[in-house]
Amino acid sequence: MSTLRTKASGYTVVVLALVLVGGLYTALAAPKGKADVGTNQSIAVKEGRQLYLQGCSTCHGLNNQGGAGGPSLVGVGASAVVFQVGSGRMPLANGASQAARKKAKYNRGEIDQLAAYVQSMGGGPVIPAGSLSDGDLALGGDLFRTNCSSCHNFAGAGGALTRSKYAPALKKADERTIYAAMQSGPENMPRFSDNQLTPDEKRAVTRYVRFITNDNKDPGGAALGHFGPIPEGLVIFLIGIGALILVTLWIGARA
């Protein structure tokens, strides 16, 4: 009985010693790296807060709670900042039916700091690290045609909505803006959660949008704004009938 107890206490000592060593290791070694990331992150949040207080708080409130003319930013996430500030829509210049794309007021670093700050206030969707342009092009086409083309046009040329709102053309949007728009659903655009369109599918759509708006060289000639058969038919009618009239005049003219 006593030998058993001795054996048991021996095991206890070993276990305790292991816990102590492990605990010391975690306390001394591991936190070092973590502290670096955390400090960087907290610096970004701090810098972001400064930028926020200067540029955004007038409308969105001192603590993101929303206020005069601006909605609450609690829970909108970093991708909403990437979309709105990255595409120049925020800060808003003047009141219109919807925010228009303009030249961005902040550079990439400042946008990331602002995004880190807004993300720290209530979380929300974040753009994943890594390349956004390596998705499956064919899958992206399928998804684009069912989910996006009804508003943004089959070639990403945009289109009209109700009461002078519009779905913008996608040619100027870069990968981050396209991805962030799907995640955050800016203004009247629906949101596409990761359950609905997985990150892989969002990357596929992102690549497809870039492909049709920027990489596609229009092998058929002038695209006429990618608005489809109506402008094409109009141009063919005007130019074609005009040319036929000239030819007819030439045939009927005196030699």
Binding site: T162, G185, Q196, R254
Partner: protein, 371 residues
């Protein structure tokens, strides 16, 4: 030269009323004369058929009067014709030899090459013919009067006599039984096509093809890739195109629907439809009640569904009520629930026939509750 038709036509004494044509049946005028083609030459003037070799002088200042320039024009016309030969050969050669497969080096020139050579072939012939007519042919307009529509009286009389004798020989005027039974037999043939027409009309009523869609009770909601949609897949402010989980359901154009999720307190359901929605999720047909365009432009903040064809606007938060535009009826709603595995299922078909009005459309739910 001085004796050309033009000169004679423009002489004052010819300005008389039109007279009947003579043997040749037509006269020639010069389109460049002041009288134009409207003037019919008097019969006292000889027609070209009798003038014969005089035709050469009708061309006025045409190139054929100048042998050298005529020769040059002939060469130009011949060049155009030969150009079209080149076009035909080039078309055939590039059709066979030019790289066609997508991605192959130079494939992008295949269609333009065919187009260029076909243009050469067609314009060569066409332009050559026009140039020929404009430079080398006699530029004259001829007027020919129509002959009488009725035949010669003698021909008509003999045809009538022939018919009459044939009728006598057949015995029809005398044998009334034969005549009447023939009329009855031939007349009844007209009844033959009537069942066919009737059959077409009956088919549509039987199938209820305009009233029913592919949705039925218990059918899951599939997305565009064929995955069943679960509760929780959509965030608030999300939408998804859905199709019925029945054989061929994703190809049924009349069954396309839109699953929308909004804040449950924003969604005002029609009183009788409280259990048609599920935690802020609601499903509508996307086929416009005006002319059947896809109403899939959803505005997440206003909850408006917008038709791109004629700007009909529906309020998705209030039973897809028609707010604006030519659409008079609300969008049909699909009652949904959630099965034991958490997937959305339909409770049945749409609340009313989808799409535009049609003849036999029955008054439906939304007609009763009004807009």
């Amino acid at each position: 030269m001085s004796d050309s038709i033009r000169d004679r036509l423009s002489s004052p004494e010819d300005d008389g009323p039109a007279q009947p044509l003579t043997t040749a049946g037509f006269v020639q005028t010069d389109s460049r004369s002041a009288h134009g083609g409207a003037q019919v030459a008097p019969s006292t003037h000889a027609t070209p058929a009798t003038e014969g070799g005089d035709q050469g002088s009708h061309s006025g200042g045409r190139l054929r009067d100048d042998p050298q320039r005529a020769k040059a024009a002939e060469r130009a016309v011949a060049t155009l014709f030969l150009l079209s030969v080149v076009g035909v050969i080039g078309f055939v050669v590039s059709y066979i030899a030019a790289p066609f497969d997508f991605g192959k080096n130079g494939y992008q020139y295949y269609t333009p090459l065919l187009g260029i050579f076909m243009t050469l072939a067609l314009t060569g012939v066409g332009a050559g013919a026009v140039l020929w007519a404009k430079t080398l042919m006699v530029d004259e307009e001829t007027v020919q009067e129509r002959h009488d529509l009725a035949s010669d009286p003698a021909d008509r009389a003999s045809a009538a006599a022939l018919l009459k004798s044939g009728a006598e020989a057949s015995g029809l005027p005398r044998r009334s039984l034969l005549r009447n039974s023939l009329l009855l037999g031939a007349g009844s043939l007209a009844i033959l096509p009537i069942p066919l027409v009737f059959g077409f009309a009956k088919f549509q009523h039987k199938e209820r093809i305009l009233s029913d869609t592919g949705w039925k009770a218990g059918a899951r909601l599939l997305d565009e890739l064929g995955r069943a949609v679960k509760l929780g897949d959509l965030e608030v402010g999300g939408v998804k195109s859905v199709f019925p989980d029945v054989p061929g359901g994703r190809r049924m154009a009349d069954s396309a629907a839109l699953l929308i999720r909004m804040e449950p307190d924003v969604l005002h359901t029609v009183p009788d439809r409280k259990d048609w929605v599920q935690d802020g999720h609601i499903v509508y047909s996307v086929i416009c009640t005006h002319l059947g365009c896809p109403v899939k432009l959803y505005e997440a903040q206003t909850h408006h569904l917008f038709c791109p064809c004629h700007q009909s606007t529906f309020d998705a938060a209030n039973g897809a009520k028609a707010l604006f535009g030519p659409a008079a009826r609300n969008l049909p709603q699909l009652a949904i629930s959630v099965d034991s595995d958490g997937y959305f299922v339909a409770q049945g078909d749409f609340s009313e026939p989808v799409g535009p009005s049609f003849w036999e459309r029955k008054p439906s739910y939304s007609d009763k509750v009004g807009k």
